[in-house]
Amino acid sequence: MGFLNFRSKSAAELMRLPTGCFTVDPAGKVVASTLPQSFPLPLLQEISAQVLATFRDAQAAQLPLTEIVVRFASLRITARDMLGGAIVFVSPKNPQTIAPHLN
């Protein structure tokens, strides 16, 4: 029955969760990044926009914040406020690895 997996697909690659960090200025522009270049820029920009909006709206709600840790089932995003911009750390929650923890 080895014929069942005799071929592997190469056309459609799965997107890996990124590991690394990036900085974003107060206007939402990504100014530096250690994330793999294969990680789509629009996704990076979306994360940046949502992080900055979360800091901004918290301030408006009189809940000023300096750091946000967002835990998904298989990924953690940690963002620190940097004078209106942010530095954002992204690390997959893979049971085989110990992700860096920021405190």
């Binding site: 690659e13 979360t54 809940l63 967002v70 835990r71 998904f72 298989s74 049971p95």
Partner: protein
């Protein structure tokens, strides 16, 4: 078992679809097998008729398997889901389980593997027909583990305790691995055994799961129970405000806002038009709006990244820190003293959330 149970098989390779359709026709329950060559077609079929089981490949153009599974878990939580793939990568296995799939299976290559695969699918379908969870509410998790080990069973035991989920892998009566939150192996096993209640579900065994726990089950259970007893003696529950259970009839907001270190509590429907209640919060309308927007924002990110469901958010601030956790259509948001660390907030929020959600 109902005669008309349907399985939807999704793969972009028509030859493989045909082959698997023939293989699945050997299942004793004779389910109806339907196929789709892409995620969009699968979505349309799921919309139009009920399926008991979805089997899908990971690598597919346009909408990959993880995307499809995330949608199916959200829209059709009652459907059992199986990944059938040739992707031998632990990251994707972890992510698939994080999304909530029932089974991750490498495409079988031998007759024996095909037969195991069929047996597992049959087990998934049969359990569904027999009303899902096994009725073990009156037994402790310890009783259940002893029973499975003594019977030399092979299975994956999934334990759900409010928002927390843990898996324990049992192979021929030996506990070989466990996973809960970010823990694996023995630490995960010990964490799961501290849960006082929950529901149990047995999933088909994963024969290729690497062994991460080397102790025999008797030693492991004994050691774990001793550790739990010692931990209880060293720190009685009253010493940790976050774990204090609410008194009967006490409103959730009241006991949540009395937790050690808590400054306010907010419970709101995710829907902006829905209900919202707060305790200890001055500018409540703005905070409610922020909590709803924050949940929505990061759920959108989770969906785009295929990172599994949003579990919890902790925010540190100079005046007060805030944590947020989604549960079904509701949001729990707690305000904390600013001197608490992120790890303390994480831990207290998880405990509070578990009590609230249960």
């Amino acid at each position: 078992m109902p005669a008309n149970q349907k399985i939807l098989l999704v793969d972009d390779d028509q030859d493989l679809l045909d082959l698997y359709q023939q293989i699945l026709a050997r299942m004793p329950s004779r389910p109806e097998i339907l196929t789709a060559r892409n995620g969009a077609r699968a979505g349309a079929m799921l919309e139009s008729e009920p399926f008991a089981l979805l089997i899908c490949d990971l690598r597919m153009p346009k909408m990959d398997g993880l995307q499809l599974l995330a949608i199916v878990r959200r829209k059709y939580p009652q459907i059992r889901t199986v990944v059938l793939t040739s992707v031998l990568d632990e990251e994707f296995r972890s992510r698939a389980y994080a999304i909530g799939v029932d089974l991750f299976w490498i495409k079988p290559g031998t007759d024996a593997e095909v037969q195991s695969f069929i047996d597992c699918l049959e087990s998934l379908l049969t359990r569904e027909a027999q009303a899902g969870f096994r009725g073990l509410q009156n037994k402790s998790l310890m009783d259940l583990l002893q029973l499975e080990c003594l019977s030399q069973n092979s299975l994956v035991l999934r334990i759900t305790n409010g928002p927390l989920t843990g898996n324990i892998w049992i192979q021929s009566g030996d506990i070989i691995d466990a996973a809960a939150d970010e823990l694996t192996g023995e630490p995960a096993f010990k964490a799961i055994l501290t849960w006082k209640n929950g529901t149990f579900e047995s999933l088909p065994a994963e024969s290729d799961r690497p062994r991460a726990i080397q102790k025999n089950y008797n030693a492991l259970l004994l050691e774990t129970m001793q550790a739990i007893d010692e931990s209880r003696e060293a720190s009685p529950p009253a010493a940790n405000g976050a774990a204090r259970p609410p008194a009967a009839g006490e409103p959730a907001l009241t006991w949540l806002s009395r937790l050690d270190g808590a400054e306010f509590a907010l419970i709101a429907d995710a829907d902006p038009q829905g209900r919202a209640e707060t305790h200890g919060l001055e500018n409540s309308a703005a905070a409610i709006r922020w909590a709803r927007q924050t949940r929505q924002r990061f759920e959108r990110i989770a969906e785009r990244l295929h990172a599994g469901p949003l579990q919890q958010i902790e925010c540190l601030g100079p005046q007060r820190s805030v944590s947020l956790a989604p549960h079904a259509a509701a949001i729990l948001c707690l305000g904390w003293r600013p001197d608490l660390s992120a790890a303390e907030i994480h831990d207290r929020t998880r405990k509070a959330f578990t009590l609230w959600a249960s």
